[in-house]
């Protein structure tokens, strides 16, 4: 049988109610019974005593006169009392005078004293019958106590009936109580079980009363609410953690994706020289499976030789320095390689260096190519200098040749002239004309040589120091050289004030002379009008020599600067080297020269030169804008 504490509350309630009711009824019934019995007995005793006394007094005369008949009649009055078993009147000697015995009961032996004796379910009452305080006889009453037993039985039946009725009421009320108390508890229990089963903390128990059960439901709901919010918090924390994990994974994936696309390999190492992480590029490069790298000592992964080669850089990075290096190292798995590395120290939260991140590129091929390039460069330089030397030799040769060839040519010219002068009259036929042709040819060759000398001389005279040349003076010199041509053509030359330039005066004279000379030489039908303009542009001097001459077709704008290129026949004299000289002069001093021209629209030759550094005191007083000076 289950212990009481384990049976359902419903039964408990029922049992408690029944037990309480029964106990209460029993106790009250019993106490009533006891009280009633005691009280009844006293009452009976008093009653019987009174009865005995009355009968005794009534029978006094009969006894005194020993009248059995009247005594018997007196006793007959006891007929009214059903429980009187017997009544006996004794004489003083103890013999029975009269008796009343409805049930055939014999009289007990008389006793001399009065009083009540309880004997065998009956009360014996003895009463002395006295006449004027002199005893004349005795009376005995035998009273059956069956009345009391009957009362008791009636009581018992009553109590039983009450018990049954109250038990029925108790069962009924327990059913109602069940509805009021147990049902809500059961509902609560079901709710709790449901919550436990489904973990659905949004459920709320129904509050049906304001008693303790109501409080319990409220507490339960409050508990559910707190569990729900805690559950929510927990779920949220879990979700956060999952999200953080996903983010971490995402970050790791991204790191790997990025490092996978990088040409260089990336690793992270700790202070203990162990690899913490390495990009796939690294394992691929070292020809190792990726799993065999993380956590391994670097020396084990790359080999002791390579580690020894990298050791100085490792020591430096662990001292907190960012290290960039190129080194050749012998790797265990892939042999000797040139690598370019960048080591960046990593720091723990306390700021101490706890390792480093390395970015590594295999530059073996690059180094090889570099070595090749260096070798090729060396060869190129050798070639270049030998070319420059041979070019220089050639120029020097051309320069010296054009100079030295003039000598014999001069002799040819002068002696041919001497021949005509001396023997002209003796020459017959075309001899004099032939000799004239010789002279003419020699002269042209001389002009050519002179121009060639001028052309080659521009760069041949490199050792002469440059000086500031006043271009106005150079222009005057050029004009004086061209005096005859200017006079003959009626040319008008107008010029802006010109700046100074760094160089040799002769070169600038020759530059201006050639440009002005060309303007006169290639003039149109009108007298030449030549204008020289000077300006500044982008930190350079820009000088323009424009004319109203015949102009130059655009397709020749480049060609005219090539030595010995001529656009015109013998009609216009010239060796075709003038503009080549101009270009050479301008370029030698770091400038450019070009032409803007159209046929019939005149020509404009433009050249630029770096601005000459003004003498210090001029610069101080001229107050030029600082940026203009800076541009020099």
């Amino acid at each position: 049988m289950r212990p009481f504490r384990d049976i359902p509350i419903e039964r408990k309630l029922l049992v408690a109610i029944l037990a309480t009711t029964a106990l209460a009824l029993l106790l009250s019934g019993l106490s009533f019974l006891v009280l009633d019995t005691v009280w009844f007995r006293q009452q009976l005793r008093r009653d019987l005593s009174a009865l005995a006394r009355i009968i005794a007094e009534n029978s006094t005369a009969a006894v005194a006169f020993d009248d059995a008949k009247s005594a018997g009649e007196t006793l007959t009055a006891l007929r009214e009392r059903p429980h009187v078993l017997a009544a006996c009147i004794y004489r003083l000697d103890g013999s029975v005078l009269a008796s009343y015995s409805p049930a055939g009961q014999t009289c007990p032996p008389p006793r001399a004293f009065g009083g009540l004796v309880l004997r065998g379910g009956r009360i014996e009452v003895f009463q002395t019958i006295a006449l004027k305080d002199r005893p004349v006889g005795h009376l005995a009453l035998l009273y059956d106590l069956g009345e009391i037993a009957e009362r008791l039985r009636l009581y018992g039946l009553l109590v039983l009936a009450v018990l049954l009725i109250s038990g029925a009421i108790a069962v009924r009320s327990s059913v109602r109580l069940r509805e009021r108390i147990v049902a809500p508890i059961e509902e609560l229990a079901r709710d709790a079980a449901h919550v436990a089963e489904t973990r659905d903390y949004t459920i709320r128990a129904r509050k049906q009363s304001r008693d303790e059960l109501g409080v319990l439901v409220e507490s339960f709901n409050a508990m559910l609410f707190s569990i729900q919010s805690r559950d929510d918090d927990l779920r949220k924390a879990l979700a956060d953690r999952e999200q953080a994990l996903a983010q971490a994974k995402n970050a790791r994936d991204q790191l790997e994706m990025i490092t996978d696309t990088m040409a260089s390999a990336v690793t992270r190492c700790g202070r203990d020289h162990r690899l913490i992480w390495a990009s796939r590029q690294y394992s691929r490069w070292l020809n190792l499976p990726p799993g065999q790298i993380a956590g391994q000592p670097l020396a084990g992964v790359i080999g002791e030789n390579a580690f020894a080669a990298l050791r100085p850089f490792i020591d430096r990075v662990l001292a907190g320095e960012r290290v960039e290096y190129e080194v050749e190292a012998d790797f265990k798995t892939i042999g000797p390689r040139w690598i370019r590395g960048t080591y960046v120290p990593t720091r723990a939260a306390n700021g101490e260096v706890d390792g480093w991140v390395a970015e590594l590129s295999d530059i073996t091929a690059l180094k090889r190519a570099q070595a090749d390039v260096v070798e090729i460069n060396r060869q190129l330089q050798r070639l270049n200098s030998s070319l420059a030397r041979s070019n220089e030799d050639l120029e020097r040769f051309a320069y010296v040749a054009s100079h030295d060839l003039q000598e014999p040519l001069r002799i040819v010219t002068t002696y041919s002239q001497l021949l005509i002068r001396t023997y002209g009259r003796e020459l017959r036929g075309e001899a004099a004309a032939f000799i004239d042709n010789i002279v003419d040819g020699a002269r042209r060759m001389q002009t050519l040589l002179a121009d060639l000398l001028a052309y080659t001389g521009i760069s041949a005279e490199i050792e002469r120091p440059v000086e500031n040349v006043d271009l106005n003076a150079a222009l005057e010199t050029a004009k004086s050289h061209l005096k005859a041509a200017i006079a003959e053509s009626g040319a008008q030359i107008a010029s802006d004030p010109l700046p100074s330039a760094r160089g040799h005066e002769g070169h600038f004279v020759s530059l201006l002379q050639n440009l002005i000379g060309n303007a006169i030489k290639y003039r149109s039908a009108d007298p030449p009008r030549i204008r020289i303009a000077a300006g500044r542009q982008g930190g350079e001097m820009r000088i323009e020599v424009s004319d109203n001459g015949i102009g130059i077709a655009p397709e020749y704008h480049q060609k005219i600067f090539v030595p010995f290129k001529r656009l015109h026949g013998r009609k216009i004299p010239g060796s075709g080297i003038g503009l080549a000289i101009c270009q050479r002069v301008v370029e030698r001093y770091g400038g450019r020269i070009w032409v803007e021209s159209q046929v019939g629209a005149g020509s404009k030759f433009i050249f630029t030169l770096p601005e000459a550094a003004p003498p210090a005191r001029e610069a101080a007083s001229a107050g030029e804008a600082p940026h203009e000076r800076a541009a020099l």
């Binding site: 003039q406 040519l409 001069r410 010219t413 002068t414 001497l418 002068r421 002769g506």
Partner: protein, 137 residues
């Protein structure tokens, strides 16, 4: 002829030019006696060995381009000899390179004559030398 007879030292390796000079002097009517040395080394020896007892030339005409020693060295030797240091010098040179020309112009010379390629121009040298000698007298 009462004109003084001039002694002229000509250091010139090209006989053609020496002939032209003679022609030019002749046409200018210059009465002169030419001492011609055609080699730089010989000319340097000559100016070094020249003693005060010898009569110094009235003018020295130097070519610059000479075999063995060039005209500038000869000029140096001439200037170094006290017996000759005051002799006026004319440089007669072909179209010289600018570098040489700058070197020569730094020396104390009377005249720099570029050998002309036109006969008439060359013959004018006779008159120029005559004028020079007259100034020196």
């Amino acid at each position: 002829m009462s004109a003084p007879r001039y002694k002229i030292l000509v250091v010139e390796d090209n006989p053609s030019d020496v002939e032209l000079l003679r022609l030019a002097f002749k046409q200018a009517g210059l009465d002169c006696e030419l001492t011609v040395i055609g080699d730089g080394g010989d000319a340097l020896d000559f100016v070094r060995r020249h003693s005060p007892a010898d009569q110094p030339p009235d003018l020295a005409i130097l070519d610059l381009n000479l075999p063995r020693r060039d005209g500038v060295e000869v000029l140096g030797g001439l200037r170094a000899n006290p017996a000759l240091s005051e002799v006026p010098v004319a440089v007669l040179s072909s179209a010289s390179l600018p570098r040489e020309r700058a070197r020569v112009e730094a020396l104390r010379i009377r005249r720099y004559i570029q050998k002309p390629s036109e006969l008439d121009e060359f013959l004018k040298i006779g008159g120029q030398v005559k004028e020079l000698l007259r100034q020196e007298k």
